[in-house]
C-alpha cells in the first residue's frame, strides 16, 4: 500500500485514525499500541503478504538479541551484538546483494550459479538499518530496551516503515509514552493534514510529472545535448520532490498520531558544497551513517589521512546501501572523493563566491545522479556523452522527452511546457521556503485551509496515474 493511493487515503487512514483515537478512551495505552502495530502490519503486508513473515521474524530475533545484550555483560553482550549484526547483515545481504554477488562471481570466475531474481522486500534497508542501529545503541547503553510492543511500534510505525525517515528509539518511544499524546488533538491533526498535502502534491503532481521526462530521456539512444541536460536536471528534481514528498507525508502522518518524526530534507540544493549537501539530504541516513560507520572507524580524530579514508569508506557503504550495482558503488565512491577534496581544500574553496559554489554543487550533484538513475554503465555513459555533445544539441528531441502518450502536442508547445516546469521547479528549490519552514510556520487560518485543500484536490486528479516511489527500491 502506498500513501498516494485511494485505498490508503480514504479507507486505511480514516479507519486507523478512528480506531486509534477511539481506543484512547481505554485506561491503558496498550490497546492503542497493539491496534497501531496491527494496522502497520496490515499496511506492510498489503503489498506482499509473504514478506510479513520476514519482518516479524526480523523484529522477534532483534528484540531477543537486544534483551540478551541488556541482560548479559562482559563478553557475552559483545558476542550477542556480533550475532545481531551478522543476522541483520545476512538478511540484507541475501535479499539485496545475493544476486549482485552471484552475477559478479559468474563474471569473474566464469561460473554458472543461478541468479534467483529475488524480490526485494519493501523497506528492508530501512527497517534492518534501524534495528541494527538500535542494537548498537543498547550495547553502548544509550538506549533502554523495554516492552515488546514498544519495540514493535518503533520498527513498524507505518508512516516511517518503508522509506524512513530513520528514527531513533529514543526519539519515538517517549512520545508514545507521553500520556497527552494519546488523545486526539485537532491542532496536530490539522498540521498533519497540512504536511501530508504538501508531501502528496510534491510526489504525485511534481515528481511523477518529471518521471515522464526522465523515463523518456534516459530511454533515448545517442541522446542530444539539450535532451541530456533536461533529462538529468529533471531527474535531479524528481528524486528530490519524490523523496522529500514522501518524507513530508510521513511527517504529516506522524503528526496525525501526535508523533513528531524528524525532517529529512532542508533545501539540499541550496548547499554551497557537497559536504553541506549531505547534511541536508536524507538527514536521518546521514546521521545513522555518521554514528554507526564513520565515527566507529575513527571519524576525524585520527589525522587527515585516516579521516579521508573513513569518509571514502562511509560513502562506499552509502552507495551500497542504496543499491546492489556497481553504478551505486561508483556513485558513493565519487562522493567520497569529493568530500575528501572539500575537506582538504576547505579554506581555498570558501574564497569562491557563494553563488558559484552553490551552482557548482548543484551541477556536481546533478552529474552524479546520472549514476544513480542509470540502469547500467552504458546508459550512464550515453547520458554523460549527451551532456557534452556540442555537435548535437538537437532541440527537437525535447518533444520526445516531453511525450506522455496521451495526446500529441506540437513540438513548440512541448518545449515550452518542459522548460516552464523545470524553470518553476528550479526557482522553488533555489529560492522558495522548504517544507520544514512551511510546516513549522503552519497557522490555523483560512489561507492554510485553502492552500492545503487546493494541493489535495490537484493531487486527487493525479492519483490514478501510475507511479512508484524511487526510494521504495531500497
Amino acid at each position: 500500500m502506498v500513501f498516494s493511493s485511494y485505498p490508503f487515503i480514504f479507507l486505511f487512514l480514516p479507519i486507523v485514525i478512528l480506531g486509534y483515537y477511539g481506543l484512547s478512551k481505554t485506561k491503558s495505552p496498550i490497546y492503542q499500541r497493539i491496534f497501531l502495530i496491527a494496522a502497520s502490519l496490515f499496511f506492510y503486508g498489503y503489498s506482499n503478504i509473504n514478506h510479513l513473515l520476514l519482518i516479524v521474524s526480523s523484529i522477534v530475533v532483534n528484540y531477543v538479541i537486544a534483551i540478551g545484550i541488556k541482560k548479559y555483560d562482559k563478553r557475552a553482550d559483545k558476542f550477542l551484538l556480533v550475532i545481531g549484526i551478522l543476522f541483520n547483515v545476512a538478511l540484507l545481504g541475501y535479499f539485496k546483494y545475493r544476486d549482485f554477488f552471484v552475477e559478479n562471481m559468474n563474471y569473474i570466475f566464469q561460473t554458472d550459479f543461478v541468479i534467483k531474481n529475488i524480490v526485494l522486500p519493501l523497506g528492508i534497508s530501512f527497517f534492518t538499518f534501524q534495528q541494527l542501529s538500535f542494537l548498537v545503541s543498547v550495547f553502548k547503553k544509550e538506549e533502554k530496551i523495554e516492552a515488546f510492543t514498544d519495540y514493535c511500534i518503533f520498527v513498524l510505525f507505518f508512516p516511517q516503515l518503508v522509506a524512513g525517515p530513520i528514527v531513533l528509539y529514543s526519539e519515538m518511544i517517549p512520545q508514545f509514552k507521553d500520556e497527552k499524546r494519546r488523545y486526539f488533538s485537532s491542532e496536530s491533526m490539522a498540521e498533519g493534514i497540512f504536511a501530508f498535502c504538501i508531501g502528496l502534491f510534491k510526489k504525485i503532481v511534481v515528481a511523477d510529472t518529471l518521471a515522464v521526462f526522465v523515463d523518456n530521456g534516459f530511454g533515448l539512444e545517442n541522446i542530444g545535448m539539450a535532451a541530456a541536460w533536461v533529462s538529468t536536471i529533471s531527474y535531479t528534481l524528481q528524486i528530490y520532490f519524490d523523496f522529500s514528498g514522501y518524507s513530508d507525508m510521513a511527517i504529516g502522518l506522524g503528526k496525525m498520531f501526535n508523533i513528531d518524526i524528524p525532517f529529512n530534507f532542508l533545501s539540499p540544493y541550496k548547499s554551497e558544497s557537497v559536504t553541506v549537501f549531505w547534511r541536508k539530504w536524507h538527514i536521518t541516513l546521514g546521521r545513522a551513517l555518521s554514528t554507526y560507520i564513520y565515527k566507529p572507524l575513527g571519524g576525524s580524530r585520527k589525522g587527515i589521512v585516516r579521516t579521508s579514508i573513513n569518509l571514502f569508506l562511509t560513502f562506499i557503504v552509502s552507495g551500497l546501501w542504496h543499491g546492489a550495482a556497481w553504478t551505486f558503488v561508483l556513485w558513493g565512491g565519487a562522493y567520497g572523493v569529493i568530500m575528501v577534496f572539500e575537506r582538504l581544500f576547505k579554506t581555498l574553496l570558501e574564497k569562491i563566491p557563494k553563488v558559484l559554489r552553490i551552482a557548482a554543487t548543484f551541477i556536481t550533484v546533478n552529474f552524479l545522479w546520472v549514476l544513480f538513475r542509470a540502469e547500467s554503465f552504458m546508459q550512464a555513459v550515453n547520458m554523460y556523452r549527451g551532456l557534452f555533445n556540442f555537435k548535437n544539441i538537437n532541440i527537437g528531441e525535447l518533444a520526445e522527452v516531453a511525450f506522455d502518450s496521451i495526446i500529441n502536442f506540437p513540438t513548440a508547445i512541448d518545449i515550452v511546457y518542459l522548460f516552464s516546469i523545470i524553470a518553476i521547479l528550479l526557482f522553488i528549490v533555489f529560492k522558495a521556503k522548504n517544507s520544514e519552514k512551511i510546516i513549522k510556520e503552519f497557522k490555523l487560518n483560512v489561507k492554510t485551509a485553502v492552500f492545503s485543500s487546493t494541493l489535495f484536490v490537484i493531487s486527487l486528479l493525479h492519483l490514478l496515474r501510475e507511479s512508484v516511489f524511487i526510494y521504495f527500491n531500497f
Binding site: S186, I193, S453
Partner: protein, 355 residues
C-alpha cells in the same frame, strides 16, 4: 479556543475539498471527454482508447468493427456503401485479446450490434503479459467507480482542457486545422494511414534492425497459449442472434519469417487451425487474408505487419463479395500456401536474411 480552531480548520478543509470534488465531477460529467455518458461527434478530440466503451454504449450503429491497429484504417463510408450497414469502428493500436473480449461483451450487453467484424491478431493469443488497455471502469456498469473517470488524470489534465479549447475556438469562430478537425470525428478514430511512409526499403530496414511492430514472444508455449485464449474468447462472447465475421489480417511475409526464426511459426499455424475450428462450431464467418500474394509485396507495408489503407479497402470489398471466406477445412491449405510463399520469398531475397 485552540481546540475549536483546529476542528474548524479540519472541517473547512473537508468542506472545500468536498465542494471542489463535486464541482470537478460535475464539470467532467458535462464535458464528458470519453463519451462515458453521451456521444458527441465532430465536437471533441476523440480519445483513441478511452472513448471506445462510450461509443459502444451511446453511438448509433448496427455493425461494429473491433480490433487493433489492423483495423484503424477502415473507412466507415466504405462499409456504408458496400455493405449497406451502419458501422462504428472500435479500434485501438495494440488492442490485447482481453480488450477485444471486454468490448465485444459490452456490445453484447448493449445489444445494438447485429453484425461484428472482429480482427484476429494471432500474437494477441499469446500470453505476453500485456495488460488490457481499455479501463475497466469505463466498460462496466458500476457507477460507484466512475470517480476514477470523473477525477481521472488524463481526462482532467489533457482532454478537458483541449476539448474546452476546441469548443471555445468554434464558438468564437476560430478555424480549426484540418488535422485536428479530423480527430474529432468518430469515424476517423485512430486513423493513421497518412502518417507513415510505406515501402520495401523501410520494411526490410526495420526487420533487420529488429524493430518489429509485434511484441517478442515466448515460443515454448505458443500453441498452448493460443488454445487457452481461444477457449477464453469462446466462453466470453454471446454468439447468438448476431452475425460474427472474424478475419485474419494480411501480415507481410516477413512477419512469418520472423516467427519461423523465433521458433513459434508452426505453433501459430496449428493454433490458427484450432481457432478457426472453434469459431466455425459457433457458426461464425471467418475470412483468411494471410496467404494472399500481396503479403510478399512489401511496398504495401510500413513494417512487417502494418499495411496501407488500400488493403483495408480491399478487405471491405472481400467482406461484400465473400471472397477469402474460410470453410474451416481449407485453413490448413491456406497455411500450406503461407509456408510455400515463405520458402519462395527466402529463396528469392537472400540479402534480406543475411546476418
Amino acid at each position: 479556543m485552540k481546540s475549536n480552531s483546529g476542528m474548524k480548520w479540519i472541517l473547512a478543509f473537508g468542506a472545500i475539498v468536498l465542494a471542489a470534488v463535486i464541482v470537478l465531477m460535475a464539470v467532467c460529467y458535462v464535458v464528458d471527454p470519453f463519451f462515458a455518458y453521451r456521444v458527441r461527434d465532430n465536437s471533441y478530440k476523440v480519445p483513441d482508447t478511452d472513448a471506445l466503451p462510450g461509443i459502444i454504449k451511446h453511438h448509433s450503429y448496427d455493425t461494429l468493427i473491433i480490433g487493433s491497429s489492423m483495423t484503424q484504417n477502415f473507412e466507415m463510408d466504405s462499409f456504408r456503401e458496400k455493405l449497406n450497414v451502419k458501422p462504428a469502428k472500435i479500434s485501438t493500436g495494440g488492442m490485447v485479446l482481453q480488450d477485444t473480449i471486454n468490448l465485444t461483451a459490452l456490445a453484447n450487453r448493449t445489444g445494438k450490434a447485429k453484425k461484428y467484424y472482429i480482427c484476429l491478431d494471432l500474437p494477441r493469443f499469446l500470453n505476453d503479459g500485456k495488460k488490457a488497455k481499455v479501463k475497466d471502469y469505463l466498460v462496466d456498469n458500476n457507477i460507484f467507480n466512475d470517480y476514477k473517470y470523473l477525477l481521472g488524470y488524463s481526462a482532467w489534465t489533457r482532454y478537458i482542457p483541449v476539448d474546452l479549447a476546441l469548443l471555445t475556438a468554434k464558438k468564437i469562430g476560430i478555424s480549426i486545422p484540418k488535422g485536428i478537425e479530423e480527430e474529432t470525428e468518430i469515424d476517423e478514430i485512430g486513423y493513421w494511414g497518412d502518417s507513415f511512409r510505406y515501402g520495401t526499403d523501410i520494411v526490410v530496414s526495420n526487420y533487420k534492425k529488429s524493430q518489429y511492430s509485434v511484441s517478442e514472444v515466448d515460443s515454448e508455449n505458443a500453441y498452448d497459449d493460443i488454445v487457452e485464449n481461444t477457449d477464453l474468447l469462446m466462453n466470453s462472447i454471446n454468439f447468438e442472434n448476431c452475425e460474427y465475421n472474424f478475419f485474419f489480417p494480411p501480415y507481410s511475409i516477413l512477419y512469418w519469417c520472423n516467427a519461423d526464426e523465433e521458433g513459434y511459426f508452426e505453433d501459430l499455424l496449428k493454433g490458427k487451425e484450432y481457432l478457426v475450428k472453434s469459431l466455425k462450431q459457433r457458426g461464425c464467418n471467418i475470412y483468411d487474408f494471410q496467404h494472399v500474394q500481396t503479403i510478399c509485396e512489401l511496398n504495401n507495408y510500413r513494417d512487417i505487419t502494418h499495411y496501407t489503407p488500400q488493403i483495408n479497402e480491399w478487405m471491405v470489398d472481400c467482406f461484400s463479395t465473400g471472397a477469402f471466406l474460410c470453410s474451416g477445412n481449407d485453413v490448413s491449405n491456406n497455411n500450406e500456401k503461407i509456408i510455400k510463399m515463405m520458402r519462395k520469398f527466402r529463396k528469392e531475397n537472400p540479402d534480406i536474411f543475411e546476418k
